[in-house]
Symmetry: none
């Protein structure tokens, strides 16, 4: 029933981002999104099952591109340290480039109900797996401390970056975000590096 493509599909997703960024999650009615997209209310339901589906699709679409971009950037990284650095910097860069998207993913979409947030977490798994694989690779190559609990470390890494971005959004993007990537990276590396590697890194 709901076609997950077509130019109107894209139009509606982008309209949703704009409307939510401008009006806030709770003031973003389907009719407002339809108007912004230039379609009739009913048309929304030819492309999306329901309102929840718009939000989840929005996140899938944008986050899919988001993760793909990070992966692509990381491919040119040589060392594991560079990979971590690239991951952090491309995470920050992308969100800094699109204020609306940052506002929607960091603040507005988190006001949605549990069922949407569970689906959002599903989408996030791709990114979390990427982080996991980097940590594992570092541990296997001996660069990272073998004793590290991968899951916990992934939560720390993601939680740290996420908190930094959220604070930046809540401060209404009043300072540049990307520069924070360096100190964030430096800090995380200190915690990640294997005992013998510390000096090298320093």
């Amino acid at each position: 029933m709901a076609k997950k493509r077509g130019q109107k599909y894209e139009k509606i997703i982008n309209a949703a981002v704009k409307v939510i960024a401008e009006n806030g999650y709770h003031h973003s009615q389907v009719s407002k999104i339809a108007k912004e997209a230039g379609v009739a209310d009913g048309t929304i339901y030819l492309y999306f099952k329901n309102k929840e589906d718009i939000l989840i699709s929005l996140f899938e679409e944008k986050m899919g591109f988001f993760v793909d971009y990070i992966k692509e950037k990381m491919e040119s990284a040589q060392t594991i340290e560079e990979k971590v650095k690239t991951m952090i910097s491309s995470h920050l860069e992308q969100l800094e480039k699109d204020h609306d998207l940052a506002l929607v993913t960091q603040l507005e979409l988190r006001q949605s109900n549990i069922s949407i947030r569970m689906k959002v977490n599903e989408v996030l798994k791709g990114y979390l797996s990427l982080i996991d694989s980097v940590i594992e690779e570092g541990k296997e190559s001996g660069t990272f401390d073998q004793a590290i609990d991968t899951r916990m470390m992934r939560q720390v890494i993601f939680g740290s970056i996420d908190e930094v971005v959220t604070n930046w959004v809540m401060k209404e993007h009043r300072y540049p975000l990307a520069p924070l990537g360096d100190s964030l990276h430096a800090f995380l590396m200190k915690g990640l590096l294997a005992p013998g590697k510390k000096e090298e890194y320093s």
Copy 2:
């Protein structure tokens, strides 16, 4: 008008935690909270200005006690490392003890509208200041790296702990939370310690 104390005040707050934990934020009607508290709907409004006020008061009340408990525990800590360890462990312990409260603060209350979340952030500031003061103290005593950006580090610490707790709640408390405090502490310390202190600590 709204009396911020009395046994009914407490009863209503605790009823709100239970009802929200059981039904989710969006299905927690005032009448349901009143019923759980064993009072009439109208009685709620003798103690709270409106529904929003219940949620903010809930957070203030519980988070006030939460931070006080952490502060008290930290008083018996001798070294700065111990302080950080105590902070993390008492943060985790408290939430592990009260599953309902953890669910409400980590997931449900974050679905509320911006105005509530702004107030919640105000309340959180007490805790964030505590983290700041610990970092500053560590930097001044030479235990922590002087180069550390306090604000960013506070975000990393809070974001890490918060993410760990949120994951635990989302996994429906299926594993013990407190034990994660040690590795979290170990990791954060590695990032915090001043260059010369790393060996000592190890």
Copy 3:
């Protein structure tokens, strides 16, 4: 149960007039009247059956005095014309003296429900009978036209005075009310006088 006298009874009535004049009928809660009267909410119910009873009693009390005053003034009138003139002037004078009361009787109390207004009409009957008796007297003495329908004339007289007062209240008492009594009287007399009496009067 409800005692229709005592100093608190008077206090509550006067408080009601003040509260309604200041806040409007629909924003005059029983608790507000109680506070203004300096008594507890529950005390109101020792003197009045219910809220409706306060309003009716207010009207009875004030209108009783109002009609008594007019009657008294009319006693010293010699001719029937003077009686009419005195009736109109003392009607206007009394309301001009007490802006709060005028506001309450002309505007606010008319927002009450039908059952109150029916009771209010009962109270008004005393005044309407007075008007009737003056008309009848005029007709019997030959001063007024015998052909006049007493009921209709009473409605015209009361309706005219009432409309003039209401307009004055709605214009926020911005002009003196009493002076209008003369032209009102002159007009009504022209309509009332018997054919042969017109010249005399002029």
Copy 4:
């Protein structure tokens, strides 16, 4: 947003008149009006901003037609006396024809809050201006007494007619209303005519 026309618009207005006439102002819930109109509750809000808007629109719609009808009838009147007579008779005739409307405009709508009544007064101004223009015309043509205060006379005329109608409604339409128009007219004319005109008129 609110479309001020369409057959549903009319349906809802007429349903409101009927429901208010039958149940009284304070027992006329929006859902009751919707049911009577044969539409869903929500449909009301496609045509009216809110409940208040229904009542104001009702008055505007009906009173607009009411005044237009009187104006039209008055056009065929030759003399100024005939104009006054026509004005009074068509005022009474219209309300006598529609008992529900009379009940709503004379009693029920006056129980509404100040903001509605202010708007109602705005609508009434059209009628009051009409009365004013007749009085002015009579004064200019020498038929009416030049000394007459137009504003006061308008209040007397409107107040008299209004009181006569209100009494008729409160007596539950138990007697015919229109016949009262003649004596009302006769009375008002006596008061209005210029000194020299009285004999002519008689």
